[in-house]
């Protein structure tokens, strides 16, 4: 009897190991929408071709905050998932805690550093270690416009913010909502980020959104940013409270509104309706003297685990993600562009091609910078001060000078 129990115990203990023997890796991520899941299937299939199973662990909601909570619990319990989707500084911060696996050998063998823009490296490396494999890149500072409205009003794509605001005022007189958006702080933040760089140059963006230089934060240039933001508020209708970004995109598609400032995930909404770039809708970068490319990336990092089969699966997954063909197939579905610079985008849509092209120039001119609103500039405790102030300013009646004061003191308080 006792022998039977011992055998049964041994069998149950062996079972998970047996299941892992075929090489399974659990991946924690927050992608749950249809296009996101379809894009993930590209990685999953390529991983299966290498003989490893993808175990899905999706925790949606709160822009990934829920998945982060799940991860904290798992790490505290000593049972981290094999891999995890990282946004912003998350990967680097976990690496500082010493729980992330160093992929430097793979990176060196695969030439990852050469394939990526140098601006990305702070988010995928920690010291000498290479800690995450980036799959895609979104651009935050796009303008999406209804072409018919532009054509009917006889207006061209604006080349400066002043022109854009003039265009907006004209459209407003015609009864069109010039700018479709919601009141969520991150939607306001997208415009704020763009203004920092477009009005005052990429160096100003670096000094404020990244270096948090008190002098630049309190400068007259910053007042100008808020002044312009106030003018944009005048181009938004009063029903913007509680409006989802996709609803705002719908307004541009239906011809209720002329423009939306949004990352390239908005493109999917146009394409899903069968609309074509440059025929039915325009996509162009927010206008500035130096065209900026404010990026965000999704990357996957691997946690330190003891199980050798999982370790092998981690290598396979990292190599799969960095595979140029996988990056191409993945990004055509997701609407972003490959994180690698050396993947051809000839068969992508016109907006993706434009983005790819403008990224190359932006890398040269130093205007390829991390998007603060999505966590790719200052650390979250500072970035949230920017978004708080911009949001309070946008929905209320605060003066630009007061907003600048509030920003300076808020950043000091968070230090």
């Amino acid at each position: 009897m006792s022998k039977f129990i011992a055998t049964a115990l041994a069998a149950t203990m062996l079972m998970p190991i047996a299941a892992r023997a075929e090489g399974q890796i659990e991946v924690l991520h927050h992608w749950v929408s249809q296009s996101e899941v379809e894009a993930l299937n590209v990685i999953r299939k390529a991983l299966e071709a290498k003989g490893f199973q993808w175990k899905d662990s999706a925790v949606g909601g709160m822009s990934g905050a829920n998945a982060q909570q799940a991860l904290r619990a798992r790490l505290t319990a000593g049972d981290p998932p094999g891999a995890m989707q990282f946004l912003g500084w998350e990967g680097v911060q976990w690496a500082e805690q010493g729980v992330v696996r160093d992929l430097n050998d793979l990176a060196q063998a695969g030439g990852w550093r050469e394939a990526l823009a140098p601006q990305l490296l702070p988010f995928v490396t920690s010291g000498e270690a290479f800690i995450a494999a980036p799959i895609n890149m979104h651009r935050q500072n796009w303008v999406w416009a209804n072409k018919k409205i532009f054509d009917d009003a006889g207006i061209a794509v604006p080349k400066t913010w002043a022109e854009l605001i003039e265009t907006g005022k004209k459209l407003k007189e015609k009864g069109v909502v010039p700018v479709a958006m919601g009141d969520e702080p991150w939607q306001i933040g997208i415009i704020f980020d763009a203004l920092l760089s477009d009005l005052n140059g990429p160096e100003f963006y670096q000094k404020t959104a990244v270096d948090l230089d008190p002098e630049a934060l309190g400068s007259p240039e910053m007042v100008k940013v808020f002044d312009t933001l106030r003018e944009i508020r005048g181009l938004v209708d009063d029903n913007f409270v509680g409006r989802d970004w996709a609803v705002a995109t719908g307004m541009v598609i239906n011809g209720e509104a002329a423009m939306q400032f949004m990352g390239d995930w908005a493109k999917g909404e146009f394409l899903a309706k069968g609309l074509k770039p440059n025929q039915d809708f325009y996509c162009f970068a927010t206008p500035g003297k130096v065209t900026s490319f404010q990026y965000l990336i999704d990357s996957f990092g691997m946690f330190t685990v003891k199980d050798e089969t999982v370790q092998q699966a981690q290598v396979a997954l990292a190599e799969t993600i960095m595979d140029p063909q996988v990056q191409k197939d993945f990004n055509r579905i997701k609407g972003s562009i490959p994180a690698r610079n050396d993947v051809s985008v000839d068969d992508f849509d016109d907006c993706a091609k434009l983005g790819f092209q403008e990224r190359a120039t932006a890398i040269e001119k130093g205007s390829m910078q991390g998007a603060m609103t999505h966590g790719f500039a200052a650390k979250p405790e500072f970035a949230s001060v920017f978004s708080d102030v911009a949001a309070q300013f946008f929905v209320g009646k605060m003066s630009s000078e007061d907003a600048v004061k509030m920003l300076v003191s808020g950043i000091d308080n968070a230090r």
């Binding site: 009141d183 702080p185 029903n239 509680g242 949001a391 309070q392 929905v395 308080n413």
Partner: protein
């Protein structure tokens, strides 16, 4: 025989303690231990993950220097006072009106009580649309011809917190009504009869006799509603998502975003301790007076 009765009586003595012990242990660990842990975190410099150093009251200083926290505290005050007063008042009024031996009382009672069956998420989403100036009440009234009519509180940072009050009161006043109605049914009719014979008018009877007799019902309503007011995280999330901007932030939404989204675990813990102290400041005097009354009584 006597030994076994002795055993069973001893068991009977121990049984309640044994049954209570696991739940007590769970409460001690999940409530008090974590309160203690939050307290510890609030005096450390914890940001992304807990770090165990001692920085004194730095995080509290930082918390009170954050404008968003001031908004949150003011909002909690406005919301709970108005929510409690209006829900209790409306609930009492509805209960008194329903208590007049009217027809279809059962159906009306169900209608008033029904909102309580909804989750705050549903209430919040529905009221978001009702109060949106381009979709809801304002649009209906202006379409009917009163073109200057404005009801755009939800877009106004100064007024948005009152939309949360409206939605909360809509949901909870029926519940208060049900408790008051039960209280009214428990009042002996002969008391009212006697007062009528003495020549007291109906409003006077209600003011001087019936409402004071509803004191126990009033107490349960206030306790239950304050609990709803403090946990109304989901209502704000669904109705305004803290907006416009950050105008309808509550301490609970502040704590969540500081701890889990903004890398300010220490500030989040400090805000949680401030909430605990506020609740304690209300509950402890209440418990104290209740316990003293029991001792005296």
């Amino acid at each position: 025989m006597s030994a076994s009765t002795h055993m069973s009586s001893r068991l009977a003595g121990w049984l309640p303690r044994l049954v209570v012990a696991p739940s007590l242990l769970i409460v001690i660990v999940t409530v008090y231990l974590f309160i203690l842990w939050t307290g510890v975190i609030s005096v450390t410099s914890s940001k992304f993950v807990p770090t165990y150093d001692f920085v004194g009251l730095d995080q509290y200083v930082r918390l009170w220097a954050t404008p968003r926290w001031h908004t949150a505290v003011a909002n909690l005050f406005i919301f709970s006072v108005l929510f409690l007063a209006l829900s209790t008042g409306l609930g009492l009024l509805l209960a008194i009106l329903l208590d007049q031996n009217i027809r279809v009382e059962g159906a009306l009672r169900a209608i008033y009580l029904y909102p309580m069956a909804l989750s705050f998420i549903v209430t919040g989403t529905a009221w978001k649309w009702i109060m949106n100036p381009g979709l809801g009440i304002q649009k209906v009234v202006t379409d009917l011809g009163w073109t200057t009519f404005r009801f755009d509180w939800i877009t106004d940072p100064q007024m948005a917190i009152y939309t949360v009050v409206v939605a909360g009161v809509w949901q909870s006043s029926g519940f208060a009504m049900a408790i008051f109605l039960a209280g009214l049914r428990g009042i002996d009719n002969s008391v009212i009869k006697a007062a009528q014979i003495e020549g007291a008018s109906l409003p006077l009877i209600y003011r001087q006799i019936i409402i004071p007799m509803l004191r126990p019902a009033m107490l349960s309503v206030i306790v239950l509603l304050s609990y709803i007011a403090i946990k109304s995280f989901d209502l704000v999330l669904a109705l305004t998502n803290g907006g416009p901007g950050t105008a309808t932030e509550l301490p609970s939404t502040f704590m969540f975003s500081a701890t889990f989204r903004r890398n300010q675990m220490g500030v989040g813990a400090a805000s949680a301790m401030m909430m605990l102290m506020t609740v304690a400041a209300i509950i402890i005097p209440y418990l104290y007076s209740e316990l003293r009354e029991q001792k005296n009584g």
